[in-house]
Symmetry: C2
Subunit: 555 residues, 2 copies
Amino acid sequence: MSIDRDRLRWNGWGYRDRAFRLSPEQLSALVASLGARFGRPLVPGAPAAGLDGVQVPASRANSALLDRLSDVLAARDIRTSPRERALHAAGKSLPDLLRLRSGRLERAPDAVVYPRDPASVQRLLALAAELELAIVPFGGGTSVVGGVEPLLPEGKRALIALDTTELDRLLGFDRASSTATLQAGIDGPALEAALGEHGHTLGHFPQSFEHSTLGGWIATRSSGQQSDGYGGIDDMLVSARMLCPGGELQTLTVPRHASGPDLRELILGSEGALGVIVEATLRVRPAPAHHAVHGALFRDFAAGVDAVRELAGSGLPLTMMRLSDGEETELSLLLRRDPARRFDPSAAFLSAARGLGYAGERSLLLFGIESEDPKLGAMQLLRAQAICLRQRALPLGSAPGRSWQKERFATPYLRDLLLDQGAAIDTLETAFEWKDLLSGHARVVAALRDAASEHAGAGIAMGHLSHSYPDGACVYFIVIYPPAQDDPVEQWRRIKRVATEAIMDAGGTLSHHHGVGTDHQPWLAREKGPLGMQALRAIKAALDPSGVMNPGKLL
Amino acid sequence: MSIDRDRLRWNGWGYRDRAFRLSPEQLSALVASLGARFGRPLVPGAPAAGLDGVQVPASRANSALLDRLSDVLAARDIRTSPRERALHAAGKSLPDLLRLRSGRLERAPDAVVYPRDPASVQRLLALAAELELAIVPFGGGTSVVGGVEPLLPEGKRALIALDTTELDRLLGFDRASSTATLQAGIDGPALEAALGEHGHTLGHFPQSFEHSTLGGWIATRSSGQQSDGYGGIDDMLVSARMLCPGGELQTLTVPRHASGPDLRELILGSEGALGVIVEATLRVRPAPAHHAVHGALFRDFAAGVDAVRELAGSGLPLTMMRLSDGEETELSLLLRRDPARRFDPSAAFLSAARGLGYAGERSLLLFGIESEDPKLGAMQLLRAQAICLRQRALPLGSAPGRSWQKERFATPYLRDLLLDQGAAIDTLETAFEWKDLLSGHARVVAALRDAASEHAGAGIAMGHLSHSYPDGACVYFIVIYPPAQDDPVEQWRRIKRVATEAIMDAGGTLSHHHGVGTDHQPWLAREKGPLGMQALRAIKAALDPSGVMNPGKLL
C-alpha cells in the first residue's frame, strides 16, 4: 500500500486530520509570549492557498514523450495532472511551505510516474538517458533541505518525478540472520508493521517516520530518535540495490568485509543523484522487552552536556538522549503548561525547582533505556541516574518521558500552526565533537538570533543535543522569527546562510541527519575538499554518465 | 621510533628471538600426528636461506633517479641496498614465506624511502607522477594477501617502496571527545603505549598487532581480536588524511554526518592503491576496569554457533568470541597437552568430558566480557553463561582464556616452525550471514581438504568462528598440507583458488579482515559487480590519475 497523499497536507506537515495539540488558551499564551519576545504582536499571514487552484507551469511532457513513457510503464502509472505535479513539486522545508502556501509554484515536475517493479525503473532510466530527461526520485517527499527540488538543468528536455512508493513490499525475512529485505519505497509505519508480524523492529524512528520511506532514509543517511541504541540507517544497512543509468549496483549481503572500499557508501547519502535505491537488506531486532524514558533537570546546559557525554561513553544500553538548552527547556515547559487549569502539578513542581536553583539556564534531559532483563535493566537505570546526579541533576521520573513518547512525531505540526499565526520556525542541525560542542552551540544560537534580528527585525533561537556518540553529538537548532510579507523565501535564505557559515566555522558538519539537498549543496565542497569533490564527480560520471539523476543535488 | 626490522625475521613471522612455544616432546607429537593424518611422515624442507646472501634483481634506480629522489628526501632516507630491498619485497603470506625462504627473489622494489613528514610524501608523489614511478606504501609489511607485492606495470620506470614507519607520532589527544590523532606509520605497541600514557586504549588487536601499523589497518579495513566489543578499524576511524597523486583527501572530524557519501570509505580499504594514509583521528577508550576470558565446551560446532549467534544479538558487553570447530578444538588441545608431564589436569578433565559425550565433534568457545562495574559485570557474565548452558555447554572457567591471552599473538610463529618440519599452513577467512554459516563452513573446509588432497596428496582443514555480529560472523580457515618440493607457490595457488571459489559460492566475502591484495584481486569484480568496479576505476582515476599507487592492487 503506497502513501495516500490525499490524507496528507499538500502544503504543510503530516495528516490533514492531525494538528499540534494546544488548547485555545495555550495557543494564545504562546502567541502572546512570542509577541513579547519579538517586541511586537504577531501578524497572521495570508491564508494558505488550496491545492485545487494551485498554479503550476505548463508541463513539458508532450504527447510524444508520454507515448515513449507508456512504452516502459502502464498508462495508469504516468500522471500529469496539476494536482499530482504540485504534490511532487517540493519537500517540507520552511521555504517549501512558504512557496506552497502561496499557491503559485515556479517549478514542478513535468510528469509523475509510479513504477511497480525494479525492471520498470531500469527501463525508465534507459529511456531518460535516451530522451535527455531528468529524474527526481521521490519517496515520502519529507526532505527539509530541498532534496526533491525539481531542478531542470540546461540540456534536459523534461523532468520526471519517480514516485517510489509502489515499491513497498517485504521481500524476505531471515530469522537466523536477523535481517529483512525490503523494497525501498515502503514507508515507516508499513515497514514496522511488516517486521512486527515477525516480532521484530528496525528501530529507525526519524521525526518524519510516519511519512518517509526506507529509500529516503538511505539516500539521506538518516538517523532516528533512538539512534543512540539502534544506530543510524548506515549501521542498519547490510546491503542495498541501486539502479543507475550506468547499470546496477548490488552490494554483497555479509555482516562485514575487507574487500576494498565499502560501496554501500555510494548508496548511503546518494541523495537520488546517483541512482534509484530499489531494495535493501537491514539488520532488525526482536521488539524490546523493557523500554522506558526518564527525565532529569540540570542547572544549566553545560552540566547536562557533561552528563550526556559520560552516558554516551558508558556502554549503558541507552536508546535516546535529548538535552534541551535553557531557551528550549522554557519553551517546552510553556507548551506543556495549561493556563486554563486551576492547579497544574507540573507547574507547581517546576516552581519548587526554581526555588532550589534550577532556574534561568535550567536544562531538561530525556533519556531512554532498554533491556531484555528487568533486573539488569534496573541496575543499568541506576547507573545512568548516578551519572546524572554527579552533575547535580534533579530526577524527574518517567512522566516527561511519557509525554515525549506521545508527542514524538508531533512537533513538526507546530510549524504550520505558527505560520498561520504569523511566526516562522526553521530547524537545522549539525554534529560536533564534544570539545567543540558547547562553543559551537553558543556560536550558532547567537548567529541565528543575530540573523533573525537583522533580516526579520526579531527572533529567538534555541537548540538541543540529540544522537550522542562517545566522541560527540548532534546539535539541533530552532529559530523562530516573524516572516517577511514580501519575500519570505529570500529572508529565510539569508538567515540560513548565516547559520550554515556559523556551523562550519565552529567545526560542525553540514548535516548530521537531514542530508545535503539543494540547501546545503553550495557548502559541500567546503566539507569534502577539492579532491573529495573530484572523487564525487568521478563516481557520478561512472554511475550516471549522462546526468539523469536528481540534478543540482550533491553535485 | 620506527619498526626495527633487524629484530624481525626477514623470511618468517615476528621477532627473531621468539618462537611458538612447544617442548621437543610436544613438537615430536605434533609432527607424528600430522604424519599420521597425511598417511606419510613429514619431510623437512631445505633450510631457509639467510638475508645476507639474498639474490634480488638489479635495481632500476639509476643515479639520475636517485638524484631526483634526493631533491625531495634526505639522502639517509633513500636506501637501495639488497638487504633493504629484500626486506620490502614481500608480505607475510604463505607464498611470500615460500619465496623468501628460497633466498632468490624475482621481484623487489628498486629503492626504499622513509619520508619523515607528510610534505615529503606529497613531494614524492608528485615526483613519481612526473618520472613515471610506481609507489608501494609499506607499513609493517604483514599483509597475508600480497598487499605489498612490488608489481611494476608496463609504462613505469621503477618501483619505490614507501616505508611509512617514520611517520609514527601521536599528534593530539582530545580527552573531552575521547579521540586521538596519530600519524599512520605508528605500529601497534607504540600506539598503545602512546595512548596508555593518557590512560586510554584503542582496543584494536589484530593478530599482527605487534608488527603492523595504523595505516595498514585502515588501508585493509582490518579488524582486531576484540572487535566484538570495540568494532573494526572502520568503527574506530573518525577521520583520516590521505595524500594522493591527485591531491589531498582530508575528511571532517565529526562523530557522524549526512553530507552525502562518506568519503572515509575511500580511505578505508584503499589498499595503498589510492594514496598514502598519513594521519588518522580515532575513537579511543579508557582502559577497561574488568576484562575476563572464559571457556565453554559444546557437543558440536552447530550448538556452539547457536550460542554465539544468540550472544552476538544479546547486547551483552562481549569483547571477543572464538569458537573452534571439532578439528581445530582437537588440534589446540594437542598443542596444549604435554606428553612429558606425568599428570596433566586439563587432559584428565577432557577425558572426563569425553565420557560425558563431549567427544568427536566437540567445539571450544572462548569469550571475553568487559565491564566498568564488577557487580554489573558479574550479572552480565551469568547471562552469557546461561545462553551457553541452553546449548548444553560445559563451562570451562577462565583457565583456557588465560592461556589464550598469553598466546594471542603467538600462533603465526607456528607456521615457520612447521615449514621447517615439512608442513605448510595457510589461513584464509570470510564472513557469512548466520543463515549461510554452517553450510559455508562445511563447504569451505571440504574444498580445502579436497584441494590439499588433489594438489598435495594429503591435508587437513579446520576453522573457527570469530568476529561476530547480530547478522553473521567471520569464519577463519586453516589448511595444513605437505608442501611440494619443486613449485610450492604454484601448488599453494591451486589450493587457494579452490578455496576462494568455495567461499564465494557459499555467499561469503573475499575477506572479512585481511584485505584484497594481489591474491584476491582476480575475484574482486565478482564481489563488487561490473558497475561497482567501474565506480572503483573512476575513483582511482580521480585520486591517482597516472596510476602511481600500488599497481595491481584493487584494480
